[in-house]
């Protein structure tokens, strides 16, 4: 099939141009792939991720550095905990897999822990695939793959992923293991963090499913990749590991769909003017223009999910977009999208009074002004320099309704 290959090559070439000469592509990891679902409507993020642009470097070059950092205390603890979980040939980890996911199987008295070291990600990927195949042949035994390397095809390029562990059960099925250092307190854990772990694990499940499909032959069906992953965390306030099974079917479906949609980066790339480049070495003004040429859909949730968020927030605020106040704000505003449009419609200066959004805004403005003893027409107009904060609060005595 020569045609797709050519098109693929052309795209890779185009994406390299976007990245800038001599700028290596930033490999996508599971966290980045899982984050694709955080704001899938954002074309800016899609093209930057697709082209392997280092968004943190880009954000700094734009003058709005990202604020993601990790405390070394957390890092130390995370590493120490993982080491503890995997100590002793992973005995404790395998015990948890058996207890939480596969009680019917023979308890893992001893397990195979194949050596996965190899040179380069490609080498490690091949080594992992081989280990998985061999584990499948060792029916009836438990196998622990410590930090395997998986490749996942993302819009034509391979992304290399490194799960904490993959366990092959005696029945030949595979389980993804995520080891996290946030606690499970009395059996429950921070739902936001569990959600993030589940999305990340779903990426590994997808990658494993690609490998499993390749292992299928006429004589043997593809190994089953379990859709319940094992999340291992410290128990309560201790450093003892405990675990819970997490069903990632939903996250897997969402991520699979978003990965499939990533192919549209070609369409986005096609809409960009020639000569656009996101290299952090360019002057800030050029970069701003380049970034601006791809539309973003900024929302406050981006602040915790995207390195470029502060830049996009500043642009979104400058343009007066109401969504900079939150996605939900738009729900009742119809096709009014800027702060000034909404306020002027509410003041009665613009807008079609038959449009229910406009009518509701005017009623809201009127009711609000009435309750505050103000004029609706003055809505959102600057009050001449209020001295004390309380002056600006509009605390005219309005008797509560009887």
């Amino acid at each position: 099939m020569p045609l797709p290959r050519t098109r693929g090559t052309a795209l890779r070439h185009r994406l390299a141009e976007l990245r800038g000469p001599d700028v290596a592509a930033k490999a996508l990891d599971a966290r980045a792939l899982a984050a694709l679902a955080a704001n899938p409507g954002c074309k800016r993020r899609a093209i930057l991720d697709g082209a392997g642009v280092n968004k943190a470097a880009l954000a700094s070059a734009l003058g709005s550095p990202s604020a993601f950092g990790q405390s070394q205390f957390a890092l130390t603890r995370g590493n120490a905990f993982e080491a503890k979980v995997k100590a002793d040939g992973g005995a404790e980890l395998l015990r948890l897999v058996h207890e939480k996911l596969d009680r019917g199987a023979e308890p893992p008295a001893h397990a195979r822990v194949p050596e996965l070291a190899a040179i380069g990600p490609e080498g490690r990927t091949a080594r992992t695939a081989l280990a998985l195949r061999e584990a499948g042949e060792a029916r009836g035994e438990w196998t622990l793959l410590d930090h395997p390397m998986l490749a996942l095809d993302v819009a034509g390029s391979p992304a290399f992923l490194e799960p904490d562990a993959v366990v092959v059960h005696p029945d030949g099925s595979w389980t993804v293991v995520e080891i996290k250092s946030f606690p499970m307190l009395d059996g429950s854990a921070d739902p936001a963090k569990v959600g993030a772990a589940a999305r990340q694990a779903a990426v590994y499940v997808l990658a494993l499913e690609q490998i499993a499909a390749r292992l299928a032959s006429d004589s043997a069906p593809a190994p089953r990749v379990r859709h319940r992953v094992l999340l291992v965390c410290p128990k309560d306030f201790s450093n003892l590991p405990t675990a819970a099974a997490v069903d990632v079917r939903k996250q897997r479906a969402v991520t699979a769909r978003q990965l499939a949609r990533l192919t549209r980066i070609e369409d986005i790339a096609d809409t960009l003017p020639d000569g656009i480049c996101f290299s952090p070495d360019l002057p800030a003004a050029d970069l701003t223009a380049a970034v601006e040429s791809v539309p973003a859909t900024y929302a406050p949730e981006c602040l915790s999910a995207c390195e470029l968020a502060f830049h996009c927030r500043a642009r979104s605020r400058a343009s007066g977009a109401v969504t900079s106040l939150g996605r939900s704000v738009r729900a009742e505003l119809g096709d009014l999208t800027t702060v000034e449009d909404v306020l002027s419609a509410a003041r009665g200066e613009t807008g079609d009074p038959d449009d229910p959004a406009v009518a509701a805004l005017r009623r809201a403005a009127h009711l609000r002004a009435e309750a505050l003893g103000r004029e609706a027409q003055a809505l959102g107009r600057k009050v001449p320099a209020a001295g004390q904060p309380a002056d600006a609060l509009g605390l005219e005595a309005v008797a509560p309704c009887r």
Binding site: P40, S188, A192, R249, A253, A331, G334, D335, P356
Partner: protein, 444 residues
Amino acid sequence: MTAVFDPGAAATEATDAILRDTLHGTARGVVVDSPPGAGKSTLVVRAALELADAGRPLMVVAQTNAQVDDLVLRLAEKNPELPVGRLHSSDADPYDKALDDLPNVRKSAKAGDLGGLSVVISTAAKWAHVKVDEPWRHAIVDEAYQMRSDSLLAVAGLFERALFVGDPGQLDPFSIVGSEQWAGLSYDPSASAVTTLLAHNPALPQHRLPVSWRLPASAAPLVSDAFYPYTPFRSGTDHGDRHLSFGVPSDGSGPDRVIDEAAESGWGLLELPARHTPRTDPEAVRAVATVVRRLLDRGGAATSERSPDPAPLTADRIAVGTAHRDQAAAVRAALAELGVTDVTVDTANRLQGREYDVTVVLHPLSGRPDATAFHLETGRLCVLTSRHRHACIVVCRAGVSELLDDYPSTEPVQLGTLVKFPDGWEANHAVLARLAEHRVAWRP
């Protein structure tokens, strides 16, 4: 499996097994999943009559007063001699006045007044205030999937054993305050009654009514696949068993063409141009009203296994479903302008359990700038797309598919909770994909 599927036989077999477990089984509870229109009410009435016949005092727990009154009426219709108690609240107009015409139905706000009757029926809220020395031998809990776990906790001491009946695909119960702190507990008070019941009693017999008598052959596969992927059901009728026709030919307008499409295929999508609108999108509201007006004006006639002679498609056989109450109000106002006053217009919550020949649905995501968990809730779309016997017409602005694709998926995950399947996002995609095959562009 080469045998031809016989819906009647399959349904009878299921019902027999349920009644056997209920009347003669040893388990304290029996759970029955009933997809839309699978004869849940018929089952409840039949089980009640057989339990009464067996001389076992029976209490029936339903969730709303309307459901309670409906059950009383159905029971009296099947057996006018049966002494039935209707336990009601002490509010004004606590029950349907039609009950006053039934000689063997006794009504009271005090359970003590209803002692010795074969069957006593009330809402879960009212039952919760009842105290008994001796529990009822048997109970039937209707709409058990819409009942909250804490509500079951309040009444479960009143009976020894119970038959739990409900539709798992409809809207889940909710609470107005956060209940995350109990997520993952087997008795999470905000979970559904059935979830708690089965968590504590996993060995209870569980049955499923396998046949929808309401949904036509055109609708059952879609509703089953999209909303009941692990518990599929079939339509009781086949393609060609039902027929919807119109005396007045199409005038070529969008509404008429979508009506014809829906009459032919069972589904119709009337698509308005993409635009972000407030909930009460005037154009979409007008489109809904126009479709209803045309349905009435065009002299519709429905033939089905029930009536081989064409039955006229009258206003009481049509319903409009919306996601929000203000949308329902706007549609009612628009219908009034067109001189239509007696077509039911309601939200999904209130349409649960109801049945019509044709439904017109304002898609929950139509015109929205963003999707929310509320709008994606599986049960909402399931209710809206499973009320019809003949055809369902969905009115929607273009762009919903993109809206779904752009929906951020960052849901938190509570350990220990069952993942609700399918999720709204996938179900919405499935329904949209199917509707797209029956798309008609809006042209007034």
